[in-house]
């Protein structure tokens, strides 16, 4: 059953602009700054990974057609342009994975909401370390063999 409010508008949970000097909206992680941008990045990387996954299941299914068909298609993953695409894909996956852990900690760790902003920068830091480990080795494989 829906609650009907007739005449009296719901009281706003946010402080009235005349009584606060803060420019940041209160009471939410998800509006403005790190909380919002991590959410935006989580969505964009999630959608990108989903569409890659659709293609990746189909290209892998070609092993059931013939060795020749599979090798022809997987060969296109080994070109320099796709090599750079794989850097973007791995970057998206690593961010989505680490930020996913951050979301779980916000939900279940009692201090999660207090440290959500710090954890965003931890995510960025771990992402950078992982990419420093991955990118040079991958690009050497793509460009030198």
């Amino acid at each position: 059953m829906s609650v009907k409010t007739v005449g009296t508008p719901e009281q706003s949970r946010e402080p009235d602009l005349s009584t606060t000097t803060s420019r940041r909206p209160a009471g939410t992680l998800y509006r403005g700054r790190e909380g919002m941008w991590s959410w935006v990045l989580h969505r964009i990387t999630g959608v990108a990974i989903f569409f890659f996954l659709l293609v990746h299941v189909l290209d892998t299914a070609l092993v059931r057609v013939s060795p020749e068909a599979y090798n022809a298609v997987i060969g296109t993953y080994q070109t320099p342009i796709m090599g750079l695409g794989e850097v973007a894909l791995v970057g998206a996956i690593v961010f989505h994975a680490f930020n996913g852990i951050r979301i779980i900690l916000i939900d279940f760790w009692s201090k999660g909401t207090v440290y959500q902003r710090v954890m965003f920068y931890v995510v960025i830091g771990l992402w950078a370390i992982t990419m420093i480990g991955f990118v040079p080795r991958h690009l050497i494989n793509v460009f030198s063999h």
Binding site: K4, N71, Y77
Partner: protein, 152 residues
């Protein structure tokens, strides 16, 4: 004169369900549980396929044949397929719920998501478990097979 009733801003579009299984809650739980498992499965997948040896350059039919002759990787990849497709499909459903406004568009998009998830899980599972690493090939293609295959 008719009076206009303005609903509270957070009133759900439909009537709130109070009985039966709370699917939205279990969907929420699923995203977190599968997310943690997928982190391990996908990081392992990426490490073995892109970091070890010559990385992406070493992937070909013989490479896949070698992996899928081992039940360990068959189970790993099948688990990854199911968990990832459902995780991704449910994430896409959330996005459709947020941005698609008309009921028809929402139905069409969610139907397309469900269809692609079901078809790809079925296809992928079938491929992993009916895969033959040493299929009958003509002599000129024998070199594409894994090294453990008997000579034709």
């Amino acid at each position: 004169m008719t009076s206009t009733t303005i609903e509270s801003p957070r009133t759900p579009a439909g009537s709130a369900k109070t009985r039966g299984i709370n699917w939205e809650k279990w969907g929420w739980v699923y995203m977190r549980v599968s997310g943690v498992v997928l982190l391990v499965l996908i990081f392992g997948h990426l490490f073995v396929n892109l970091m070890v040896g010559e990385g992406v350059k070493a992937i070909d039919f013989a490479f896949v044949g070698g992996k899928w002759s081992d039940p360990f990787w068959m189970v790993w990849d099948t688990l990854m397929l199911w968990l990832a497709m459902i995780h991704g499909g449910n994430g896409m459903r959330t996005i459709v719920n947020d941005y698609a406004r008309t009921p028809v568009l929402r139905k069409v998009l969610k139907g397309a998501i469900l269809a692609s998830v079901v078809v790809l899980i079925a296809l992928g599972t079938l491929v992993v478990f009916t895969f033959d690493p040493c299929p009958p090939v003509t002599a000129d293609q024998a070199h594409l097979l894994p090294s453990f295959c008997p000579a034709p």
